[in-house]
Amino acid sequence: MFGLSFLAPAFLAGLAAILIPVLVHLRHRERREAVAFPSLMFLQQIPYKTVKRQRIRHWSLLALRCLILALLAAAFARPFFSRAEAGIALDSARDLVILVDRSYSMGYEGRWARAQDAARSVLDGMDRDDRAALVFFSTGAQAASGLTGDVAALRAAIDAAKPGAGATRYGPPLELARRLLEASDRGRREVVLITDFQRVGWDGQQDVRLPPGVPLTAVNVADGDDAANLSITAVNFDRQTVGGRERVTATARLAYKGAQPLSGVPVTLEVNGIELETVTVDVEPNSAQAVTFDPFTLSAGESRGIVRAGTDALPPDNRFHFVLSPGQAVSVLVVEADGAAAQRSLYLRRALEIGDRPPFRVDVTRHGTLRADAIAGRDVVVLNDAPFPTGAAGRALIEHVRRGGGLVVTLGERSSPASWEGDATELLPGAFGAPVDGAARGVTLASLDRSHPIFELFRAPRSGDFTTARVFRYRPLQLAGMDGVLARYDDGAVALAEKRVGRGRVLVWTSTLDNFWTDLALQPVYLPFVHQLARHAAGYAESRPWFTAGQVLDLAAARDSMAFAPGGDEPGTTSELAAGQAAGAVSATTLPGLAGGELVVLAPGGARTMIGGDHPRVLELAEQGFYELRPAGQANAAPYTVAVNLDLAESDLTPIDPQELVAAATAADPGTAVAATTAAAGSIEDHERRQAFWSYLLIAALLALAAETALAGRLSRAAS
């Protein structure tokens, strides 16, 4: 039958069962039991005839019974109509999906032009009734149009397209093509793949199959290319503070795939538009090399840098963008109690001063001499066994926390519960009491919340053993609820607790951070613990010198990191910000009025976008270069700059045999025949399931059965 196929053709053998009613009808129907008759006087006078030939009497009943069996056999065989399998088109019109690779490797000399020519050639070959869909792909796939016969629009889309900054992935476009063509009801369906067939785009594991019978035409625009390519894979930075200024030593890593050596390749470092240094290198075939530049001093604010390495047929990966900011140091003010022993904060200070990622700038003062302006611009204030400040200093401390600053409170002999009164009580996660002595050998830290940023560093095995530290005395801390406890001693008492106040954090360590009440300061885990404590209290987040094209930027973090230009700011904040910036403090303070506000994004290609304050939360970084983000209406404000580089995997131009990909996608390769067959079978099953002819056949069989029952009964009554 035209285009008719069966999912389970073996059941058609059941048609042989049609012979059963025929045989039954023809068979000599003899009653087993004898019929009692008064006398055989007359019957015995009739000559006996043997039955040689039977005949069918009720043709309609026989036909009905045969029909029932035929319908049942056909239903179980699961028939379906598949124009593709029949290989016969209901009409000659064609549906075509054109997949065009616009990954950045297509920017290799001449490839994109050849791709556009190929796409135009495909459009020129379309008949009047044909339809085509244009799909551009790199890391993902987007349909520039649905299936349409508007060739002019398709041509315009091809003319306007350019290679992007994404890498190549063949799975998404093939999957999109499959979906587009499965929705098509035309007999002729085709896919054309225009690409440079990079091996990195196809790992062979993608489970994508085009619908059965759909040919995939491969157009290789890289054919004949010399795939030699030099790329900058990464730039590392070594930062040192010299004479109060931060100096950075940049090292660029080069990778070269090519058969011929390269000589005299200029590698240039450019910062803020100024070419600082050019190093000339020779590169061996298929090799990697590092180029280190002389240190340079970071100026205030953001510094944009670009490393360039010569030029070749694929220029985009010969550039590497980065953004560096100075003043990443975390400013820490340690407040000691009046009358505290000298060098009370020795261990704390020394531990913090060792850090360089970020560096901590530690100042120590006494409770009695603490002034409000000393708190200004600090990232973290540590009340190291000191009472809560009074007067303006206390108010300044409360404001410091509310605005996003960090407060670490260590409880010792001189910590005074009575000093925490009024507004200060809101800073504490709970009330603390009189000192408690631990067991004879002291208590240990038994329960840590290793999912918390402070202890996340210690999650891996052998990354820090807190159980070696002994706490001999601590102040019990009574929390209102279970939330906020980050660590407990082995006797169940709270060791470390956190509370969010406004935009800031308060961390309470219920013992000392020196060697008076505990020997934690003598343990190896003390230094990283103190660094994590200070980092978390400061809300420190390491800034990224660059992103990779395709990644997304968290706009909330960007908003938090943005600064206003002088003038037009809210009173009281500019000086603080200026003071903080001058001191090299990290600009991690969120300024009031900016939170949730609109942003203007300037993409590397020049496009401007306005992003609303409430959404979206992320920005996709699709282009290579520098993105600038500014608050709306603040054209003069210093922008928040994000550097974006290409996915360097795409720089590997090693090709794949197009037929390998075609075979895998169309299941034409014998090596993948089983998998392809399974996938094709799955598609056939879906096709049959959608048509579900078996249900109609079963219903017809049931109706025929009812008719047979009625007819048989009527014939039986008529016979009797």
Partner: protein, 302 residues
Amino acid sequence: MEQHSLPGARFVDPKVLARIGNLELLAKTVVDGFINGLHRSPYLGLSLDFAEHRAYIPGDDIRRIDWRLYARTDRFYVKQFEADTNANVSILLDVSRSMSYGREGIPKLDYARFLAACLAYFSQKQRDRIGIATFDRDVVEYVPPAAGHFELVMHALDRARAGEPGELRAPLAKLAENYRRRGILILISDFYEEPAAVRDAVRRLRNRGNDLIVFHIMDAAELEFPFQDAANFEDLETGTRIPVIPEYVRERYRELVTNHVATLQRMLGEDAVDYTLMNTSTPLDQALFTYLATRERLNRVR
């Protein structure tokens, strides 16, 4: 056989009558209803009414005195009916095994019993002397005809059961010796013997000067042979089995049966025996009608 439909004769459907458990009641129902129907029918030739008067003789039933005539004549006269003949009526009932057959209607023996009961009741109303003999291959039961034997006849009919194979010649020959006085013999059978043998057996009864009425009882299946499925057919009397394909034998069988009936009718008719074929589906009033017609003729001949 002519079919007469008498008013009020619906109750004589044999299948309906079969539900009446009491044979005498059944007979009374049929006969009285039949008679009532006769009174309203145009068939006035059947004489059951008053025929003549005769002078009262002491001992006569005073209920038969015609008081109107007395009022006119001042003398006692009794009514006398035409059927008041006091004949000997004997019913000869075949109770051979073949009489137990019944497919389309009630079993032939039951039909025969109902018929016999009706005839006995009817005759008793006519003041005949009633007797009965049942037979298969021998005489099973014999009640000589006599006045007052009606109850015995009914009891004999109640007891009649078909069980043994039968034949006509021997039992009828034996019975013929008992019926020395001229009377009316009603032979009820299915006559599964050759017509010549039937005639010979019946002649013995006829030779005594008896008037013979024959009722040939057959089931509709015996007449039409409506069977469909091929099967072994078993003779009820002999147990013989033969395979039969009904669709092949039906037509010939019907011919044979028709010929048999026609031959019987002709042969018996030649011996002045009244022959009536009774289909067990036929209402009993037809049999009564036939009987009355015969009695009418016999009375006139007398």
